[in-house]
Symmetry: C3
């Protein structure tokens, strides 16, 4: 008569995850030789935009991330005694935990600001004064703010590095680094300057470059590796697809961009599909994806991968989770290792 | 004319606490021999229900807790480099700090979620997706949630252990472990399978088994040691005292249960009185105890102990604090050591 | 056509800050010999009021702070394994981060309470019960509370030290310690009992001693060193400048106090100007400073320093930031080192 326990409770946890794309990233590690020089240049810099990086830096950051992911139980704790100020004036549990996990895994301590209402900003303090204050309390600041100008105003007084974790609709550079890391793990040849034609990829992006910070940052990154991407197809039926000069800039950098409104027509020829859910419009956001969604029924090419910065809404069906197309979980997982790589470079370079 | 300082400020803090029950738990430690086998079985498991434990596991967890309490200044920090995700979607400072203190004392790092409004859940993300995310960020999750199903949904994707810190009205297993630890410190013979008749205890519980998670979890624990408890008296005048099958299950497990509505008539014969204050009714709660309360005037048996999961309301008078009946402070204190014991077993077993 | 990056992003961070007053405090360190005895007396004490300190303790705390500031990269982490409970029932990011940074730099772990609505207090729990609870969870409590009686009620049950981080309008003793540290770095002779007449300072305070806790605490501190301050001028045109007995007490302690309503008339003869922005009136506050404000145009004496507990409002113009009068940034910076000094003394004395 004693009712049975939930079956989940009767056995130990699964030993490992079998989801596609979650595997030790040794292929990436073996594909490129280590070169510390591009990373040393990052020491003591703030990161606000993807446009600050060279292709060599992105490759070496991905390589360092792969090293962290391949050897997770490393005893080294290079940031012991260093303090992260994790300032999420625009709340975000996912991104905050990703950064904080990265910092903790490196041995550092953390102070979090999660309730903007309790800060001086809410009482009229200037961002420059906040920056001056933060100099005294920590070794690095991670900031998410709806106000895209805030990070620049803080930098006027900051003497410790700050990392942009999303500033309004402008940029989200560490997400773009995580995206590139995922792409490089999937197909290491994408890192090659002299990539073979057969290795080049066609990537589709479901999103609005004009006002989605993840898309904006990713496009700049792809432009750095424009030779590796035959075509970038933007799926978008908004009136304003691009911000002023955005398309011209990307094209000038060498990226081959096309706009499409028919997802299913293009899907069979795409190697990578990057789908987003949330579009920031000013201080508010709107869901995106009623028109464009992916499921097991979508005509996705065999071997193609699906990426998503998460959290997802209805645009990405859970029935794809257990298919080899699912690289969005690997993407989220890799983001922690990419952030470990970047943060170590910014505050010290004894890796 | 300078006004005198508050007398509390003129001297150092008291050297130790003289409250009944707060003493080095050496009697428990000496009463049972160490046996690591039952604890090794807990490695890499999630804890949702008290029904997952064997009597041997509860005894050895209590013994390990006693070891932590008896030798608090141990230099060992077995969880250095391990990250706890402390997710209190239903806010609770007391339980959160108890878990976090346990983890910190073991050397680990912590990331807290204290504001459910900032999480993806509030924006419609599924618990399974949250679980998938948390896999990447930490080594163990502690979850309190008003929605009693949430923990099961997270477990569908979790590959790291999760510990239930209260799920709706269902269970609160670590509170029950702390309760047993308190009982075992008070009378170590209660751990014996072949307990002498004179050592058996009669316990009264003021609360509603149907919808109080602390009572539900405790009753399952008592049933594991049913031979040690002559009688369990439930003081309750609600219409629905038990949930469906609850009384039958407990009786079948061997527990001798009686319902009473007259506290003062039974008090003189009870060895243990366990009093609660809050009953969860759906998403809301109601105070419980207008009818049943304890004070120095209550006819409590000499040598009997009073327990309470705290925080208390008016049902438990402060005039009992300085009497030998007060074991509720010892109970709260012991909860930290019990959690240290459990958490170490779940994430690694090099104790 | 690619738009240029923000110039702030093109170069590494400035190597050091050139603001006045931010310099290694070696002069202070050399001016007084080390004497551990007054600090040993602080072990295991709670700090609620500036009136608990002797002049010798304030001098030695400043000296220890100077040691921390002069040698910031010290490898010692004396508080490893110690837990701070950072309880900001009245939210304050600035003061919270200052305390937490101090504790982390000493190697300790932290649990924060930043949302009073989630605590037992909000549900009617007594402060004494909260204190009893906190005994079990940490090694030291830092409390900010609008209710000025709360700290005394907690102390009735606390057996670990508590530090007052602002209790209503009553006191804010660590701010006053930081203020004295700033003054001593500026002019070490102020620490001398037999100070030369030419080294004595005239200090002006813009604020309301009756109901500003920073001013109340500072005045008690200045009274400890009354021989070093020729005159303290209070700029205030409120009806009630002093609380009952406050002026008499300070005068009796030896402080030479004068009230003025004409800031610009007195400015040219002041060596130190201490300006505040917020006055607590009961549970609410009002901005102060419409009448009294400082800018580059103010007739500040050459060599005089301006102090402010921050965050600032309109009363303190940013045009003073790059002048040698700006010691308010140094004051905020020094507060971390003063708190490091104090916290180490309270919980252990192996410095």
């Amino acid at each position: 008569m004693v009712s049975p326990l939930n079956p989940l409770l009767e056995e130990a946890l699964p030993e490992k995850d079998e989801t596609a794309g979650i595997q030790k990233p040794l292929r990436l590690l073996k594909h490129v030789p280590e070169d510390p020089v591009p990373l040393i240049e990052l020491a003591n810099h703030s990161i606000v935009s993807t446009r600050q990086f060279t292709a060599e830096q992105v490759v070496q950051l991905a390589r360092l991330a792969a090293k962290h992911e391949a050897v997770p139980q490393q005893a080294r704790r290079p940031l012991v005694g260093k303090i992260l100020i994790s300032a999420f004036y625009e709340p975000s549990t996912r991104t905050r935990l990703s950064f904080e996990s990265a910092w903790h895994r490196l041995g550092g301590d953390i102070m979090s600001i999660t309730d903007p209402a309790t800060t001086g900003i809410a009482k009229g303090e200037s961002y420059a004064d906040v920056g001056e204050m933060l100099n005294n309390y920590g070794d690095l600041v991670v900031l998410r703010e709806t106000n895209d100008k805030a990070i620049y105003q803080m930098m006027e007084s900051l003497r410790i590095p700050i990392v942009n974790a999303g500033n309004g609709i402008e940029e989200h550079p560490t997400q773009a680094l995580a995206d590139m890391y995922t792409l490089f793990k999937w197909r290491p040849a994408l890192m090659d300057k002299d990539i073979e034609k057969t290795k080049k990829a066609r990537i589709g992006i479901i999103g609005v470059p004009a006002n989605m910070r993840t898309v904006r940052s990713l496009l700049y990154m792809l432009a750095l590796f424009h030779n590796s991407f035959e075509e970038v197809v933007i799926f978008c039926n908004e009136k304003q697809v691009f911000a002023e000069h955005q398309l011209e800039n990307l094209t000038e950098m060498g990226l081959n961009i096309r706009i499409s409104i028919d997802l299913n027509a293009d899907l069979p020829s795409l190697d990578v599909i990057y789908i987003n859910s949330i579009a920031w419009i000013g201080d508010d956001y709107k869901e995106y994806g009623q028109e464009y969604s992916l499921s097991k029924k979508s005509p996705i090419k065999k071997g193609a991968i699906v990426m998503h910065p998460l959290a997802r809404g209805k645009e990405l069906s859970t029935d794809l989770d257990n298919t080899p197309h699912n690289w969005y979980f690997a993407q989220a997982r890799g983001a922690v290792f990419v952030r470990m790589a970047l943060l170590t470079c910014l505050v010290q370079h004894n890796w």
